[in-house]
Structures are given as C-alpha cells and as structure tokens.
Assembly symmetry: C4
Homo-oligomer: 241 residues x 4
Amino acid sequence: MSGMAQTRPAASAALLRESGAVRRVAAEALGTALLLAVVIGSGVMAERLADGNAALALLGNTLATGAGLVVLITIFAPISGAHFNPAVTLVCLLRREIAAPLAGAYVAAQCAGGLVGVFVAHAMFDLPILQVSAKLRDGPAQAFAEAVAAFGLVGTILGARAAAPKATPALVGLYITAAYWFTASTAFANPAVTLARTLSNTFAGIAPASAPAFVAAQLVGALGAHAVFGWLFRRDPSIEG
Amino acid sequence: MSGMAQTRPAASAALLRESGAVRRVAAEALGTALLLAVVIGSGVMAERLADGNAALALLGNTLATGAGLVVLITIFAPISGAHFNPAVTLVCLLRREIAAPLAGAYVAAQCAGGLVGVFVAHAMFDLPILQVSAKLRDGPAQAFAEAVAAFGLVGTILGARAAAPKATPALVGLYITAAYWFTASTAFANPAVTLARTLSNTFAGIAPASAPAFVAAQLVGALGAHAVFGWLFRRDPSIEG
Amino acid sequence: MSGMAQTRPAASAALLRESGAVRRVAAEALGTALLLAVVIGSGVMAERLADGNAALALLGNTLATGAGLVVLITIFAPISGAHFNPAVTLVCLLRREIAAPLAGAYVAAQCAGGLVGVFVAHAMFDLPILQVSAKLRDGPAQAFAEAVAAFGLVGTILGARAAAPKATPALVGLYITAAYWFTASTAFANPAVTLARTLSNTFAGIAPASAPAFVAAQLVGALGAHAVFGWLFRRDPSIEG
Amino acid sequence: MSGMAQTRPAASAALLRESGAVRRVAAEALGTALLLAVVIGSGVMAERLADGNAALALLGNTLATGAGLVVLITIFAPISGAHFNPAVTLVCLLRREIAAPLAGAYVAAQCAGGLVGVFVAHAMFDLPILQVSAKLRDGPAQAFAEAVAAFGLVGTILGARAAAPKATPALVGLYITAAYWFTASTAFANPAVTLARTLSNTFAGIAPASAPAFVAAQLVGALGAHAVFGWLFRRDPSIEG
C-alpha cells in the first residue's frame, strides 16, 4: 500500500510483458494471500481461545492483523507497491501512477491471492477448505462504517506518502489497528479482502449477500478520500483552496 | 500536536486570508473529527464486545486511540501542526508560534470538528446522532488527574520537539496510551475533546456538568507544563536555573 | 536474525579459531537463552494469571515474546547476526553467508543456550528445573502450520534485508506477534526453540513425540522461503522470472 | 536510561555547582516521579477495572509502563541521561561516565522523585496519600527473578548504546514490557522504584520486608550485566576473549 508510485504512467500496457511485471503481480498475489492467512487464521485462533468473549477475540485478531500488515507492506512495497487492495489500485489508476492493464492484473492477483490465503488458513486450522460465510453484516450503518474505513485508509496512505513515506507500512498497520475498533464494520476496507472473507464461515467471515454493499461503500470512501486528501495534501502551495 | 512551530509570530492576523490558512484550519477540523470518531467509535465497540469487563473495554479503546493518534498527527502535522487541542494551541500562542487570529480559528475548527466526529461515530454504530452524556466524572481527584494528564501531554510535546521532533506523533500516541491508564480520569487532556464527549452517552462520554472542571484543570496543567518544561527544555544552556 | 551477512563465504573453517568467533558463538548462546527465558517465563506467568482464559494467556505470551525479540535481535545482531534459530543459520549457509564450521557452532550454541534459558525460566518461577512436556501438538494441520510459520519468518528476514535492513529486529518481532495468532501451532518456527520447549511442561511446552514433525516442517518451510523469496527479492532486475 | 554518557569523567565533583547540574538532577527527579505515577496509577486503574482477572490487570499495567517509559526516556535523555534508576547510575559510575558526587545526587533525586510520584498517583485515584504495602514478594525464586530482570535491563541499555543508540528509549520500553511477564517478580529492576513501591498498598506495591532482597538482587544482576555485556559489546575487536 505504500509505494503507489512504483509504476509510472509512461509505463503502458506493454508493461505486462516487460521485465518486472511478473514479479510485481506475483508480489501482489503472495502478499494478499499472506494477509488473508493472517486475518482469517488469527480470527479462528482468537475465537477458539477467547471463551466467548468477543472483545478478547477482536484483540487477538487486531494484534495479528496490524503487526502482519506492517511486515507485508514493508517487504513487498519495493516490488509491487504493496497495494493488496483493489480500492488502492483504483486510486493509483486515477492518479495516473499505474497503467490500466497492470492495474487490472493487480486486481486479479489480489482477488486470487486472497482466496488462496483463506484456504491456507483453513488448512492450518484443520477446517474444511471450502466454506461460505453465514455472518450477515447488513444495514446502512455498516455500509457507512465501511465508507469511513476506506476513506481513512486511503487518507492514511496519501498522507503518509506526503508526510513520511518510509513510515507508510507502520502507519497503515496502526490505522487498521484503530479501524478494527472504531468502525462498526471492523474495517474490511478492501474489496479483495471482502470477497475472500465470504468464503470463510469463521470469526472474520462475511455472508456473500452482505458483500456487494461493503464493496460499493469501500469504493465510495476511497474516491472520497482521493478527492479530499488529494486537495489537502497536494504539493503545490500556490493554488489555494 | 507535533508541529507547533508551523506558523511563526511574524505571520499576523493577515494569515487567515493568506495562502494556506484555509487548508490549515480545514486540517484541524478534519483531524479532530477523525480523532473523535476514533475515541467514541472504539469506546462503543469495546464496550459492546467486552461483556461487562471494563478493563477489556478500556484496552480496546486505548489501542485504537493510541494508534489513531500516531496516524493523524503524522499526516496532518505538515499542514496545520496537528494540534487538535485548544490547550496545545494556547501553549503555542504563549510561545508566540501562532498568531492570535489563526489560533482562534484553530480552536473553533477543533470544537466544530470534534462534534462532527462524534456524530460520525454515532452514525456508524446506528445510534441516535444527538445524545447527551449522563456519565458524571466529578470530584477534586478527577480534576487533579486531568491537570496531570494535560501537564504530561504538553510536556511530551515540548520534550519531543526538543529531543526528537520526528518522533512526536509516536510519542504523543504512546503518552495517551499510558495516560488512559495512569490517570484516574482516563486522560481527556483536551478541551475540544471534552466538549465533544459531552454529546455522547457512551463509554467515552462525560456529563456536561462535569466538563467545566475538566477543562479548567486541563488549562492549569497545560500552563504548568509550559512553565516547567519550558525551563527544562530551553535551548540556551548559558542561563542556568 | 537480522545480520545474516555478518560472516562472509571467504571466512572459512579457520574462522572458529579467529578473532571474533568466540564472541559470536557466545552471543548466539546468550541470545537464545534469553529468548527462551522470555518465551517460557511469560507463558508461565500468563497462564497463572489468566484464570483459565487461553486467549488472555496467549496475549501475555505474545506481548512478551514480540517485545523481547526486538530487543534481543537489535543488540546481538552486530555481533553474531542474531540468528537464534538453526533454520535461519541453514538458510545463511545455503546463501553462502556463513562458513559450515561456524554454522555448526551456531546451531550447537543455539540448542545449548535454549536449554539454559528454559532452566532459568523454571528457576525464576520456582518450578522443577528439569521437566518434560506432555503437551501433544500433533497432526498434519499443525505440521502445515509450522511450515507456514517458518516460511513467513524466513520471508520476513529476507524481505527485511532487501527492503529495510535497519528495521529487521522490529519486523521479526512483529512477524512473530502475528504468527503466534495466525498459525494454528502458535509459530515455534525454530528447531532450537522446539527442542528447548520439549523440556518445559508449561504453557509453551511441546511433547518430545511432537517435536520431530515440527522440526521437519520448519525446515521445509524455511527452504521453501529460501526458494520463493530468493527469487522475489533478488537484486538483479535484468534476470526476469 | 539512554544517555549514560551525558556526563564525562572529566566532569568532577565541581559539576554539581556548574551550569547544568541543577537541571540534570531536576530531570532525574521529575522523570522518576512521572515514571512512578505511571506504574502505580496504571496498576490501580487496571486492578479496579479488571474484575479480579490478574492477567488483564497486568496487561493494562504493562501497556502503560512500557509506553510511558519510551516517552520519559526520550524527552529526558538529552538532559540527564534519563537513568531514573540507581542501578543504572551505579553502572555508569563504574564505567566512569558520571562523577561520584553527581551520581549521588542522581540517586537521591531518583528516590525522592519516586516517592512524589507515588503520592501523585494516590491523589489522582482519591486514595490515602501515605500507605505501606502489605504485598509480600519473598523467596529465592523472586530474588533470582529480580537479578535476571536487572541483568536484562542493563544488558539492554549497554547493547542499545552499542548497536542503536537512538533506539534506546524504545528498546528499554520493550524490554520492560517483556520483563513484566517473563520474570516471576514482574521486573521491578530498580532500587528507587522498589523503595517507592513499598509506600503503595495497591497492585504494584511491595511490602517493605521484601524490599531489601529485591534491591540486593537488582544490584547483583546489574553488576553481572556490567561484566558480561561489557565484554560482549566492547568496542575494541583486537582484544579477543
């Protein structure tokens, strides 16, 4: 999520066949797979151990996700930018920092990687590999929370890039740590993660019926952040709002 | 809270009409709004999940607030200094680092932003937008705790500026993490936050009747820190105390 | 674990007799001893206090282990590379960053140090010094989880070296923090640690009968990471995969 | 605790009357006072809220102490070295980094500051200011744990100075976070803190009868670390052990 500017506008569709594209797309797939293994796996572990206390379960889930994100973004950012998130890739596309074909490949890799990560988590915990979540997360308040979550996530990334680029992995990890608690939806904030979590009937799952509203809200929030923080963090101080 | 020196004494009342002032005031409003969304939202989530255990509820509230502060201060500091707190703005004014009109605009933006943040949190959790807290936090011990909390917060900011300016966001986040637990009042330490929290009858709320003593104590603590840490961290070593 | 490149291929078997080897091996022994004291000690403390809640026990164990790792790796890395882990030393050997005799001495020091650390923990908590764990951790899912844990650990180390070498201690600490929760086996990820933990019939113990499968899985995971991340993080961008 | 080298051997007894000594001693007193306010205050808060669960109480106490230490050491280190601990000052004296008279003044300031901090915590929580702890912490295992705790603390400080001086505050905070859990005594590791905690009959207190063995063990551990880590982290690589 940190290195959105890894791929320049000049790099057009040809990039996919060029040196580096394979490694970039592989990094997005592997990184998102590991992210989902962390999210789903820690949710299963935390719920199993928490003896029915949902706050304790969310604490374990939060700790693992926040810590894991810092690691994954740090090590994959120099290769692919470590988006792991179609909403982030979309914002990069709008900012002309990634070419459309590569962006498309990123999104496909994120979605596929996320599913693999869910399967890995299930295998580690001796659960059926294929599952469908029955956990409804419905209603306008949940959707609004997802919009806020994605708004904050994209704002964090854009702000980090402007203020402290090297701290981006830590800031994203801290943001998600906070957002697991301050948003009513526990901050999915990521369409690929939302899709993957529909296939896990565990602590971190979401019923497929609830997913479309989540994804729509995430895109609205991301686009809102693109507008608001794009103005706030723009580099040219001569154009005053 | 980190970049108190963003606006220099030379910048007088005219600053409000100058390039940058709109963006600065907007940053204070948006940053304080997001801070309150984090504080109130994570308080609601934590209390809902904690099954009556107040330590667990405070753990979730602390984790989210500390992590959120690091993010918000990092990304908004280059724009407005990331005060988010009238007591901090007051100390900046006394140190002649901000002009009085801009300081006034900051305080207004902080108070207004804080209220919006509370409303956002309520909307995310499907609660009535307008509420009034019934949680009394009274007595001299609570007021003393608030004075200590604000004393420590301003000391942290002044000390960070002198010793490790780039670490200011992390240090403020860590300070509040500690202060949620070591002060009996859970460290509001911020008049705008106190005002906003009167309008939330949730975990992090405070009854309006208890607010004036909190705000007064916060100002006393901040002014005390201005005196004590101003002496301790002054730059000129030739004038010995 | 951070400074795998401390000893160069050029340094051959003679290294053991050379200046520095004694200190390096001593650092591996002392560091691994302190690591085990932290792992076992915090497990005992957490289980004693947690009143039967396994999530709380794992939280305390996680917090201590993650924090302790950051400290130990930071201070021992300049001396020995702070492997503390035969799987990490093996990967260094394959990468020709350490000579075989020194690698052998490292592994012996790690195993011996780990045992001493377990004894120290038992002495601090007034437990019988010599114990054998009765906690079975069996089955293919547990073994798969260990392979994933070691894969992620070695990936973290190789990625950190490529992307942010100075952040290696923090990243390893964060990785283990996450892995205690997202892997079903609570991420031993270390043959020397596994061996040592067979001799503690406490929270963090593992029955000797379960250890061989854990160690084998750890080596498989480490070798897999050596292959995958070696390709992903290789420095020469002209050779495209 | 980070800047042990702030005062050089050349600075003799005259230092106390020289420019800076007043400020240094004041920093030790104020810093230790704030440290004790954090330790005692968070212990009271955590125990009150934890509903009888000691692991939760220790979690809150740990979080606050670790976070608070990072802040206090960062901001006071440039002034006094941020010892806050007679065992650390003793090691500095042995390393000839502080003159004996100033070291004496440091220890007096630490002890006095610690008492004031305890009183501040009691006042914040509306408790009797003067108390005596009835919590016995006896036996050889507890004393051994304290020796290990102080050994690790001094090792952390000496190692941080050699490997990553700027990270010292974070490393000490992380060490104490770990040591609250991995040592059976919850790592007092500090004679001034031990003395102060005898005067608080709360979560973090210690009965006066238990204090002498703790202090003796702390000094033994600190001197052991001075010997072991002094050899391990010495700068001259030509003298091989």
